[in-house]
């Protein structure tokens, strides 16, 4: 990658917000000084290992734990029969009408239904012995028929993932919006049809999951450290599982090494390890192995759909119909059935499409559950609409950019109500497209492609113009509330302690929030500390997912700062012997022009607040404010990605020769962090389009359970990105920010896939499933030449 040089800001004159600052959290992480769950060592701590099913579907005839229990150092060996009654059911928070849900116990009951299903747990004095113990457990399985393909699973006569449910269909969800869809299709000159497949993906955070639980028998209090994105939601949901009341439960998310949605969940192990600590009266640690992470931590995507677009010959799109089969895996995790329905929310992308109809069928198969994975629902929708735009343009022989531009709402059309029922907050889609074309040197790119093609090469250009949903979200649209909480406290020493209810795990909010606070409170950034991820510190919160941290959590902090400054002004006014409305606050200094020349700074004021000898009547001591922010809408970031590729005819390899992304996430608090998020997001897409894929064989065996077989992008797969931005503030929050955690992944997948398909177009190849691996590309070329 080329090194991008950022302007060096003069710290005395430039505000922190807007500066490309390096992340405050990085030095400790880079030096190995962060404390992850596996770094915790508590006195008397024992270690758990989980025995997982090697069968995709089987009845458990018998489990014999005698030999395992006899191993010296083994503390306990327990099965579902021992623990399930005390651990409750693993929760699913998605409210879908008529949802058929299997009972999801912490350990398997008399049946396992996917490879990796937890069957028994062994606890021992060290993790080696714990592994020896699970090896010594003898399970007698009676294999049952397996179904691993969602399209097969809906056919009559398919093996059933849950025989007691009578069908593999978990739900059918219909959405329609805008005008009359039948009429739209009747009026069309042409119906363009396409089928698209979104492969299953493994999120692969670099840190697998892990849990440490400690129970204080005397107090009846439980502390649970877990590698999670959502300590607060766990504190809401775990009490119902293990019977410790919420106010006696402390959940800590220590340093968390990536989540990508995979840690936006309440997992069986969180209840199980808590239960073991209570049962055994000693702290228990469980750390997931990479293999277990691949098998028993949620997967993403796995949807296949048939789509139809009703168009006029001039390219006007009248309507869109979609029928999607979503593979849910074998049971429901926290949001499993909801994720495919998110696709329905942005199906129309950034276009005016007057009528839509979508049917989503959620299906059970003998695989790990799918759930929210980076972008959750929006990458699926964006890939779908952006591929379709290209297919329509190609069939009608019109320019694909013109087709897009023709359907963009104009900047004056915002707030823009869509046929899918959302109201997009703000946007200028054409501006992002224009800027991306400019950065890509579009005309030259077209010339280069023409020259390459003339020379017999396979060269392609792909574009995607996307809009997505961030800042989740208004509580009415979120299963467990979408508000966020924050607290800002000025200590007696004038240091600022900020507590946020979001739970960053790589997003860099220790830096961005400190930038916001330092500017607004008028203190050096070194004096600001951001605390998060511990429910005993951050009492309330809705955590981190759906690109909500800054837009929702940051806003709660801004509200706190405003309250704190208002309170500080009351005291300043008292000291100036005037009224608050005559106090001016600027850059950390309180003055009262025309009243006095005196300047009061934070150290003086903070001292007064805590010494509390000179407070006006009615003013409480202490300088702290907390706030809940309830957003009135989501935010809708957007952008344009352009990708150019060359294909190797002989080997099918795709080489990205140019990558341009223009993302509009509103004002950027820290452009360096924004760029990092976009870069990482595009890397995810490179993986998804070109090689990543979670594969179960026909027996339901997971054959991509290791980095030896599951390909994630490496540094040398990443081209030299050209990144730019436009800035369209959101009216939804005072910062105007939108969110950028998932944008890269949402915008990039269709751009790269469209580029590959564009390269293949001269050969008459119009369809290829993701991932577009060298072998698939080679096979496609071979059949056409």
């Amino acid at each position: 990658m080329r090194r991008r040089r950022w302007p060096v800001a003069d710290p005395n004159t430039t505000p922190y917000v807007g500066r490309a600052m390096k992340r405050i959290e990085d030095p400790r992480l880079i030096r190995g000084e962060g404390t992850y769950t596996d770094d915790l060592r508590l006195p008397g701590m024992v270690h758990a290992a989980i025995l997982r099913s090697p069968h995709a579907h089987a009845r458990i005839r018998k489990i014999d734990t005698t030999a395992a229990k006899a191993i010296p150092g083994v503390v306990a060996v327990l099965t579902g029969a021992d623990v399930n009654a005390s651990c409750g059911l693993v929760p699913c928070a998605a409210a879908i009408p008529d949802l058929k849900a299997p009972k999801h116990t912490v350990l398997a009951g008399d049946r396992v239904y996917f490879v990796g299903h937890a069957v028994a747990v062994a606890v021992a004095s060290d993790p080696y012995i714990a592994r020896d113990a699970i090896e010594a457990i003898d399970v007698d399985y009676d294999p049952l028929p397996v179904v691993t393909n969602a399209e097969d699973a809906v056919k009559i006569g398919s093996p059933l993932t849950h025989p007691d449910l009578g069908s593999n269909v978990a739900y059918t969800h219909n959405v329609s919006g805008g005008g009359n869809i039948d009429e739209a299709f009747r009026k069309a000159d042409r119906i363009v049809k396409h089928r698209l497949y979104h492969q299953r993906l493994t999120p692969m955070p670099i840190e697998p999951r892990g849990v440490v639980a400690s129970y204080h028998t005397g107090e009846g209090t439980l502390t649970l450290w877990t590698a999670t994105q959502i300590p607060h939601l766990i504190r809401t949901l775990l009490p119902g599982m293990i019977g410790v009341p919420e106010n006696k439960m402390r959940i800590v998310a220590p340093e968390v090494g990536g989540g990508f949605g995979a840690k936006l969940n309440v997992y069986p192990e969180e209840a199980l390890i808590a239960h073991l600590a209570m049962r055994l009266h000693t702290p228990v640690k469980w750390i997931e192995s990479r293999r277990d992470n691949a098998a028993a931590t949620i997967h993403g995507r796995d949807q296949v759909g048939e789509y139809e677009v009703a168009v006029k010959n001039d390219g006007t799109i009248l309507g869109l119909k979609s029928k999607t089969i979503a593979d849910l895996g074998s049971y429901l995790q926290l949001l499993t059935p909801a994720v495919p329905t998110l696709t329905g929310l942005v199906l129309t992308g950034c276009y005016t499409i007057p009528a839509v109809k979508m049917e989503i069928v959620g299906v059970y198969t003998n695989k790990m559950a799918t759930d929210a994975y980076r972008g959750a629902g929006r990458p699926e929708a964006t890939y779908l609409i952006e591929r379709l735009m290209d297919v329509v343009a190609q069939e009608l022989k019109i320019d694909r950019l013109d087709l897009r531009l023709k359907h963009f709402p104009a900047p004056g059309d915002f707030p823009f109500p869509t046929s899918c029922g959302l109201v997009y907050d703000s946007g200028n889609y054409a501006a992002a497209l224009t800027k991306a074309k400019q950065l890509a040197n579009w005309d030259q790119l077209l010339k280069d492609r023409a020259a390459a093609r003339a020379a017999g090469k396979l060269s392609g250009i792909g574009v995607s113009t996307y809009v997505e949903i961030c800042a989740m979200g208004p509580s009415k649209a979120m299963p467990a509330g979408g508000w966020e909480w924050g607290c800002v406290r000025m200590e007696i020493s004038a240091k600022v302690t900020v507590i946020t209810g979001v739970s960053p795990h790589g997003q860099g909010q220790e830096t961005t929030f400190a930038q916001i606070v330092a500017d607004r409170v008028g203190v050096p950034i070194e004096d600001v500390v951001i605390l998060h991820g511990d429910t005993s510190v951050a009492h309330y919160g809705r955590d981190t997912y759906g690109s909500r941290g800054t837009a929702v959590g940051g806003t709660a902090i801004v509200m706190c700062i405003d309250k704190m400054i208002a309170k500080a002004k009351t005291l300043a006014a008292h000291l100036f012997e005037t009224t608050s409305d005559h106090v001016v606050f600027e850059n950390g200094r309180f003055t009262s022009p025309g009243v006095t020349n005196r300047v009061i700074t934070w150290p003086e004021l903070a001292g007064e607040f805590y010494v509390a000898k000179n407070l006006p009547p009615g003013l409480e001591p202490g300088l702290e404010a907390s706030s809940f922010f309830e957003p009135q809408n989501f935010t809708f970031p957007f952008g344009t990605h352009i990708c150019a590729v060359d294909l190797d005819r002989d080997t099918g390899h795709v080489k990205i020769t140019k990558y341009v992304a223009v993302d509009d996430c509103g004002p950027q608090i820290n452009p360096l962090i924004v760029e990092g998020q976009v870069q990482g997001g595009i890397a995810h897409s490179i993986g998804q389009v070109l090689f990543e894929q979670t594969i179960y064989n026909e027996d339901g065996q997971l054959v991509t359970g290791e980095f030896m077989d599951y390909a994630i992008p490496r540094a040398h797969d990443i081209p030299d990105y050209i990144l730019g931005s436009t800035v369209t503030p959101s009216p939804i929050n005072p910062l105007g920010v939108k969110g950028v955690g998932e944008a890269g992944t949402i915008g990039a997948t269709p751009a790269i896939a469209n580029a590959v398909m564009d390269a293949l177009e001269p050969l008459g190849i119009t369809h290829m499933n993701l991932p577009m691996t060298p072998e698939k590309v080679w096979q496609a070329i071979k059949t056409k030449t």
Partner: protein, 144 residues
Amino acid sequence: MKLTLSSTVPADPSRVFAALTDPEVLRRTIPGCETLTATGPDAYEATLKIGVAGLKGTYTGKAAITDQRPPERLTLSFEGKGGPGFVRGSAAITLTADGDATRVDCAADVHVGGLIAAIGSRLVDAAARKLADDFFRQIGSALP
């Protein structure tokens, strides 16, 4: 996983058939066989230490011989499990006279699970072929 293999054993079909159904011969010829005991007519329990090169695992399991039509055909069904996972399946074995020797054709349907399935079918497939080859070679040399 479907596997088809063939091998030539230097003995006539009836002797090969007899060997394939003789626990004593089987114990000596099955690669990595540590114990083999008959639990009934044509039903066995066995412990095998198998794998490729240094990557060996110990499996315990059952095997049964059915559909016997001496000296032409038999079906072997097996299931075994061990630390690295499980193996189960069946193999239809046909014997055809080929001069002084016997051509042994084996069509197996093998299901593997757990770690052995996960570490890559490439190795499992090749390892299964190798084990079968070794077995038939051993049978050949075990025959007097």
